[in-house]
Symmetry: C2
Subunit: 468 residues, 2 copies
Amino acid sequence: MRAFFYPAAVAVFGVSEEPRNLARNIIHNCRSMGFEGDLYPVGKKPGEVQGMPILTDPEDLPRGVDLAVVLVPAPRVPEVFDACGRKGIRHAVVSTGGFREYEGAESRVEREVLSVASRHGIRFIGPNCIGVISTGSGLCTPFNPLDTGRFQKGPVGVISQSGGVTTQAAYTFSDEHVGFSNIISAGNKLDIDEIDLLSFLLQDEETEQVHLYLESIERGRDFLRLVREAPKPVVLLKANVGRTASAVARSHTAALFNDDRVVQAAVRQVGVVRVETIHDMTVAAKALTLPALRGNRLAAVSFSGGFSVILADACEREGFVCPPLPRDLVRKIEGYRRGGVIRMSNPMDLGDVHDPMGVVFALEACLGLDSIDGMALSMIYDEQMSRLFGGRGASKEQILSFAAGLSERFEKPVALSFFTEKRHVEDFKALGKYPVFNDAVESVRALRMLRDYWVRRGEGSAGAQGGM
Amino acid sequence: MRAFFYPAAVAVFGVSEEPRNLARNIIHNCRSMGFEGDLYPVGKKPGEVQGMPILTDPEDLPRGVDLAVVLVPAPRVPEVFDACGRKGIRHAVVSTGGFREYEGAESRVEREVLSVASRHGIRFIGPNCIGVISTGSGLCTPFNPLDTGRFQKGPVGVISQSGGVTTQAAYTFSDEHVGFSNIISAGNKLDIDEIDLLSFLLQDEETEQVHLYLESIERGRDFLRLVREAPKPVVLLKANVGRTASAVARSHTAALFNDDRVVQAAVRQVGVVRVETIHDMTVAAKALTLPALRGNRLAAVSFSGGFSVILADACEREGFVCPPLPRDLVRKIEGYRRGGVIRMSNPMDLGDVHDPMGVVFALEACLGLDSIDGMALSMIYDEQMSRLFGGRGASKEQILSFAAGLSERFEKPVALSFFTEKRHVEDFKALGKYPVFNDAVESVRALRMLRDYWVRRGEGSAGAQGGM
């Protein structure tokens, strides 16, 4: 399977010099993304693409090509596979559409493709897909021109049953500064299916969590088994849930079987984290980089009364409890107040604590309590207020390092958000030193996703299931 | 009430040259925001702030000052009010804290403030607040230094029971390019309360919709009456909903009474749009600039199979129906397909229609149907694909103008989103020509908010209540 993601050399079938030729974009995407392996354009007419000659006879391909990307008309795919087989190419991405989703299940060309593939031992992704985007190798097989310079490397592998979602996921994970390792558009899954891809990503050393966009789960039992035994978190956006979606899903990916019971079983039994939007995939991805959330009891801390109240409502909505703090601790924290106006509780409003030592004491003391499993921390940030964490103002890096140190030392998650301008939030995210959520409510949703993973995997503490 | 927002001249009490003096920031914020009225710093010691002399005797104030912003210690507020009264100042923002929330309900200084105010006919906002930010006049009374250059003028008035939420709303509405007219931090509401402020904003010509962040609604009946008769939409983020929030809300705004039945009654009876996050206030604000959504039947259109399925699930989740389209219309749209691969339905995947005329025909025909009340439109955008809407590629302006024209002509809302990079979405939003939502799921949520307003106000068509 590695050849699908980290090939040494790639042949692209279907390239021509014509301006509207789509296969050219595959060469261009790979080059602009920094793919360092060899690339061989293959086409019917001689010519040149990106300074490379177009080979008109596949026999001229050198040995050592381990992946073919195929974008020729459907009836010609078998002969391309035959040529690949003769040159020892054992892996292919078949981008071409017009198979099952066009001709129905009894597609003759499909049977032919399978037969040639099996004769030569070729495994393939697709057809009817855009293939693989890999930040590890720079491989980028989509045939639509992509802004590859914006893609960020990161721990998330994505498998998608939609080309549109594939590119959107690449952009969204990058825009949120989460990044990705490998994103795969699975297409018609005639040979390689999401179970094969999931198995690979669960082993891939560049991938620390796997996110799936699926419109159908056909091998439900295999899916459950795989996720149960997975050493890495699995996040699932299962679309095609309701009746409204079923017609459009059928014409999109021929997704007939739509049993939400498999999804619910996965969520309940094996700790799949379920999300409903692509953005929430990034929220889950950030959450899952935090230490384990082994229970249901949070400290919710803000520097504004309003955001403390908003946090409190969000905690309750997501099924968390905010246990009261020990009286002597409350008294100590209250000793740091300036006005002495605000009574301390959990959720806690530290807006009256202007002493950085007091803030540090309060956060450490709360997170250190045995009765607290994690923290939602809504920080104020503006250039002036940043002084709070240092004599002359702490930098954004210092604030993130403090949060990172806090969660590491106590081995409990601190879900961090800021109330400030969006540009500051973007700056914090871009630093990539510690996950930052877009707002206080999102940070609590993130903790819920983290809990979905840890508690449902049976690693939460006893008695921590309240409210779930 | 106008003097609170558009004063001709303002006196700021409590100013000094000391670096840590907070009242100085009020002068600074007003100046940097372009407030063109006269400003008069008043303080105990002579000096200069922003090139203006600090008046040590309020008697030296000229006639014509119509607003005082007061940030002196609580016990000194009555004497400041007395001075104001003598100079004919009849409106005040009292920023000072340390009243009821500090001393309890039987605050003596509070009674004194009320008595002096009533003697001189002074109306005041606060105490314990940050007052008013007005993009119409440039008035900006918060005593924390703000990045006023980023504030954008817009149609939304906000009343907030939290200072933190006040500044965050100013930033969030600006960051989302919605903008705001007047934002008011109401504080302890000793004199002017949210009902007074709401009444004003419902008449204010700069304000087209009013958004509220409230932790308690004390005059529930007045609130319901006011909203029922309101000529403008009202959006409510009612926090302090659950038990978890009640303790922190009490110490924050003394919000004891927390009857969610009033809120639910408002939502059901009078068409208040309820939201749960500050970001969703901006979603509601964008939605409410669209034409009326008079029913529950949507056309959901995308240019990707995946996003069509995601739209379909979102529609069902928010209680919408996507009725089937007439057969002859479906056949006509199918005539524009290139591959002829995708069967048309509602939700509709136009990914196979590469003819701009076909896209325009399909969108116009769908929106024009009597069986369709509105549209969720998930557009693809990348620099190459933008060619779709013109010979050589339509500009972002042209795409927005097309959507605006569409919704205007049919007097039905088109909730527009794009699947593309975030920077393009930000560019679209910044143009401000037509509301753009952050993603397809958000666009459907926006339509739900619009429906909350129109259908519940009794202006939806009969039989349009299905699924609600």
